[in-house]
Symmetry: C2
Subunit: 444 residues, 2 copies
């Protein structure tokens, strides 16, 4: 169970300048004057009040800093490379990310490749897409300030990017990438639009539910000979369970309230922000599985389609084809949990009970073999409340895309290896299982 | 919310040699050959299988190590000083604690004072007893392997000692003391005697309940101008709440099973070990309050009494007068939570509901103003199940000791400042409140 430092509370963002001053004051005297903070954000967040607060705080401390405000929403190899080139040429010693997962992940990449100035982009990206080299150097300090309640990237060692030329979304996962500090400040989600808040909240929901149902840590094989060689994702375990279940309960309670009043319901916003960080600590140690594995080809293939077939999610930038990450995760989730239920009926029963709330008493009559179907229905019912597209067909996928989606999913070993039941050692059977899940996700 | 790294699972202790090898391999080449591990334990644990496993692991890695097996149960200034002298003269670069809170806290002190070779014992001890100097240097790595499910010291920056010459128990609290890694291995509580396991479990119970009811983090005043100056104990907060409440539920469920079968019920042992670490993360960030503040004079004054009036807890060493820490904490707890209930009726109601289990429905008829009394009764009922002495009179305190206990409690500002309702700015009123609590704790 690796650690996550968090500070939360209204106005905590104001203290970020002091945090950097405190770090810099501990450097050897000769290095202090060279300290330079690189602030990574996106063009939208750059215009929001949070960046004013950040800049005022850095100015007040008399710090040396530069801004990169070109982080892409759903970053690509190209947008990462631009941020890396900027960081390498700017002699940045301390990193600050302000934004959603996209900005935080870009800042993680910029930090990593600044500390490995000779490495190319594929050096650390998960195999088989990249070379999956372990990160052995200690990276520069990174503070992350989330502006959405979703990714939990402020607590994790994960950074995700899209590689459009390969129609593939993947990333880097290493404890070394974990931010030094996450500043979780309710003020920073006050302007988040409804559709963005819902999509982000769906990511929290499935971070929780996937990590809660991931292969248990003591069944993950082979056990590495040396603890340092363990993957970042350990499988579900008793401590990540505490986080994952709390985040699941909280998201199911508060995300529907966000859907009704995304900005005004401050209690719901506060709870979702905490749920995002909490789910991050849970899945950041336990891992996620099939819905996340499918989300990558689902989001990625949409961008490569002919223009007339591209899906554009409401209230995101209209000129960019986008199935938001949280929505992409949701589309296969009902079928996935129907598939995984036999692996741990008790856990799936508890999850169903949380979705059912007052109706949970009905579960007493449900046999273990029917739990998957019940949980599938409950997840669909919950997604309907939030207005999520009812299956892959509603975001433009057709039956002839099924094989492509499955082929895009199968190389996602970093997450698929945490999936229960999946026949990981028999590719033909695994393909069949995943195909069945996609077929069951076309519409409902 | 400061972080805690934990590894749990049966046999995790075997990997401790590799953990040190991994740390040492990251040192500059010139420092590697000088690396030396100091193993801190007590004379009882030194004879247990856990130390064999530790030593085999260190030998297998070819490490250079020395053992200090003279950590005292309920350590004193004298036993600390002996451990510090040993560490300073042995050129220890890496620390390992194997044992209960006593050994872990002693190892923390040895680490601290080895890194401040010029400091005397009172330099860092909490004011007003010590000079309360902040720890600014980075200390040496410390791995903690708990052998009791109690203190949670493997997750905290707290180290407690007794100063018999002043009849005073206090400590040092700083994030800097926090172990680098805690190894939480079920095998290591397999031989823990029943009375020791119960006393340790009571510590977990009140770590949870005190941190759950501590002053909220956003009401703790004054807010320091710089985040680095915040105390280790922040007040209750939404993330420590997750830990504290989970540990409370788990302890109430499993500690009675420990009382029935302390060694054979491995499920209960596993859950209590997790609850101890989890409560540690909760109170290590939120803090504890009045029951812990009183526990120090309660334990300490007993040792200074004439021999015929000293209390000896069953199944601890018969020649040492001892009110075990967990028992000492329990003795005032029922009266304390009766006192604190008006500060947050909802939290005290939830706590009462957890104690009541199947009977929680009865709470619907309990008015807020009666909650304190109900919770007090529920705690007493729970302590009765465990066979805890029914009040201070059963461990030898008389009415004429009340003022002395109160005077011994009042300087415990590190924890009393986290107590709700207490009139911290009016010493006469505070004294009266604490006196009332002791009077209500003499017998039930």
């Amino acid at each position: 169970m690796a650690a996550s430092n968090l500070r939360f509370g209204a106005h905590a963002t104001r203290e970020v300048g002091q945090d950097f001053s405190n770090m810099i004051s501990q450097l050897p005297a000769a290095e202090r004057s060279g300290a330079k903070i690189g602030v990574f954000t996106d063009p939208n967040v750059a215009k929001l009040p949070v960046m004013e607060v950040v800049e005022e705080s850095l100015v007040r401390e008399g710090l040396n800093w530069v801004v990169w405000d070109k982080c892409a929403v759903e970053p690509t190899d190209k947008s990462w490379q631009a941020a890396i080139d900027f960081a390498r040429s700017s002699n940045i010693t301390h990193f600050l990310a302000v934004g959603g997962g996209s900005s935080m992940d870009t800042a993680k990449a910029a930090n990593l490749f600044t500390n490995y100035p000779e490495a190319d982009l594929y050096e650390f990206i998960n195999a088989p897409i990249g070379r999956g080299r372990p990160i052995e150097r200690k990276l520069s300090p990174l503070i992350a300030i989330p502006t959405t309640a979703g990714t939990g990237s402020e607590t994790t060692g994960t950074a995700i990017l899209d590689i459009p030329s390969k129609s593939f979304k993947t990333g880097i996962a290493s404890r070394a990438l974990k931010p030094t500090l996450g500043i979780v400040d309710l003020n920073n989600t006050a302007t988040c639009p409804r559709e963005v808040a819902i999509a982000a909240g769906l990511d929290v929901l499935f971070h929780s539910l996937e990590s809660w149902t991931a292969v248990p840590f003591n069944e993950r094989t082979p056990r590495p000979a040396n603890p340092i060689n363990r993957p970042a994702y350990q499988g579900s375990n008793p401590i990540s369970d505490i986080f994952s279940k709390w985040a699941l309960e909280t998201t199911i309670k508060y995300l529907p309230r966000i859907s009704k009043d995304a900005q005004g319901d401050t209690e719901a916003r506060a709870q979702m922000l905490l749920a995002a960080s909490t789910a991050g600590i849970g899945f950041g140690n336990a891992g996620v599985h099939i819905p996340h594995a499918f989300s990558y080809p689902i989001s990625s293939l949409n961008k490569g389609r002919p223009k007339e077939r591209q899906y554009h999610h409401p209230s995101y930038a209209p000129d960019v084809p986008l199935i938001p990450h949280g929505v992409a995760v949701s589309l296969t989730a009902p079928a996935v949990f129907n598939f995984t239920a036999p692996s741990s009926p008790q856990r799936h029963r508890e999850a169903a009970a949380i979705f059912m709330g007052d109706r949970a008493g009905e579960l007493a009559r449900v046999r273990d073999e029917d739990l998957g179907r019940v949980l599938q229905e409950e997840i669909r019912r919950f997604l309907d409340i939030l207005g999520v597209p009812r299956g892959l067909s509603e975001v433009g996928y057709k039956n002839e895309d099924i094989a492509t989606l499955v082929e895009g999913c199968m190389p996602q070993r970093r997450v698929l290896d945490l999936a229960p039941i999946l026949a990981k050692d028999d590719k033909a059977q695994e393909r069949e299982q995943l195909t069945h899940i996609v077929e069951g996700s076309m519409s409902w």
